[in-house]
Symmetry: C2
Subunit: 263 residues, 2 copies
DNA sequence: AAGTTCAGTAAACGTACGTTCACTGAATAT
DNA sequence: ATATTCAGTGAACGTACGTTTACTGAACTT
């Protein structure tokens, strides 16, 4: 399961070209675009939701248009991986199909799939860092820090589900190129985190190296928890609570260990 | 990079059939098999080594032969993933090609690729558990436990490189089916490990639940370290030493935390 | 107003894929 | 000695793929 639909289907083409003339654009006045109106980037399974939520109106400029299509391509790839597939299993045609664009168009934006992958890593890296930034801005409530942080983290994951699926998935699997890029982002994340921890004065007795090591441990644990959270079916609050609880305890143990750490 | 060779190649067929008549079987007397002698399961890159190391002689029985081919298929899949690709990117034809067998033969052994994947999970699970078993047999040397264990672990990883690449890679990425199976194996591993830790009397003050939680943390860290180890190029002993050192410290921190753990 | 640029198009190419089918012939069962 | 079984074969099928090519026409430049 979960690999490509195993051959024998309706032959791909009908989708884009037909969907524009038949069941297509009643959800938006077709006149909104002059010609290169991209077909709705709808999934093959859930047709309506996600990716391009009536952001229509008038994005006129040519450069903006290009950016928009590029974003559609990235979103399409993420969406496909959201159905539970590795980046390496995506095909170019598939991505362009979901993005509502012809395959050849892809090359106007990326040299190939790897380049798109790297763009996704960067995008995800930004999402990751924003998590830290928000935590920094909020400051840490001195009471129940861990439990609160984990709750925030859980919410953040679900709000950026696709990015986290991507990072968690490609962090260890798949292509060496992408994995390396993800690990680099992760290192930046660890660096920032240990900087913040020092700033906030948690673990004052520890050396920089020890702090960094502990943060690495935290991030590993965090990524693992992310995979766990993302694998929970949406109707299993009990399971999610257990994962939350386990994650909190693990973090507690780590910080306990860090407090008594001596070289 | 690292996805499939990007089209435009010599058309696959020539490979198997030709290699038998031209440059093929001088490494073994062709008469060893009557007819269904499988072509050498050589990689497209490194032709000679690995998979079927002169285990020839006479495995006569039909059942044995079937098992042997099955093993070749599993080994072929692992080998391909060893080149740094996710399981989801493998194709059936590719696997049979490397295994030295015609595509249709695949179905004599597996219903499809997923079934082969699950077989690989099981195989890898056995490898994982053998690690614990050996640790149990040896007993833990009371001096420098952590450092010694990590060295053993590092050696074990390299001795079973492909299995660990598979587990580490599919643990978070790829198909939900395989991921679930891997996580199940991992849970078994954690169970056994916490049982052993209790047996050996480490962490005597902790509840079963706490022990289990700590073991989960250890295994997550371990899997992460495995990916790190496997990504080190073979000529970078310094980098490997750093990873080892980091891993030791992380484990030390975890056990430190576990020692002072209170509910 | 005329000319240039270039994101997106349509069609074609050669290759690879999964799956099916009737077959062959040695290992087994009778 | 004869019949049955069945792992492995070879060929064919329809579908999907990545990439290239010449094109169109609106957005920009002059």
């Amino acid at each position: 399961m979960s690999r490509r639909p195993a051959a024998n289907m309706t032959y791909e083409c009908s989708l884009r070209t037909e969907s524009r003339s038949t069941g297509g654009p009643e959800w938006l006045p077709a006149s909104a675009y002059t010609r290169p109106m991209p077909a709705p980037p709808k999934s093959l399974i859930v047709p309506a939701v996600a990716a391009k939520p009536a952001d229509a109106e008038a994005p006129i400029s040519r450069g903006d248009r290009k950016l928009r299509t590029r974003a559609h391509l990235l979103a399409a790839a993420l969406q496909l991986m959201g159905e539970g597939r590795g980046f390496g299993t995506l095909s170019l045609r598939e991505i362009t199909r979901v993005a509502g664009v012809v395959p050849a168009s892809f090359y106007r934006h990326f040299r190939g799939l790897d380049e798109l992958g790297l763009a996704l890593v960067e995008e995800s890296g930004v999402t990751l860092r924003r998590l830290l930034r928000e935590a920094r801005r909020t400051g840490m409530p001195p009471k129940d820090i861990l439990r609160r942080s984990v709750q925030i983290f859980r919410d953040y994951i679900h709000a950026h589900r696709l990015h986290f699926m991507f990072v968690a998935g490609e962090r260890s699997g798949g292509s060496a190129l992408i994995r390396a890029a993800v690990r680099a982002e992760e290192r930046h994340f660890i660096d920032e985190m240990s900087h913040d921890l020092r700033q906030f004065g948690l673990m004052p007795g520890s050396s920089t190296a020890a702090l960094h090591m502990a943060c690495g441990l935290v991030v590993t644990t965090m990524m693992n928890a992310a995979t766990d959270f993302l694998d929970v079916p949406p109707d299993q609050p009990q399971l999610e609570r257990e994962i939350t609880e386990n994650f909190v305890r693990q973090l507690r143990l780590i910080f306990l260990g860090a407090r008594v750490w001596r070289e």
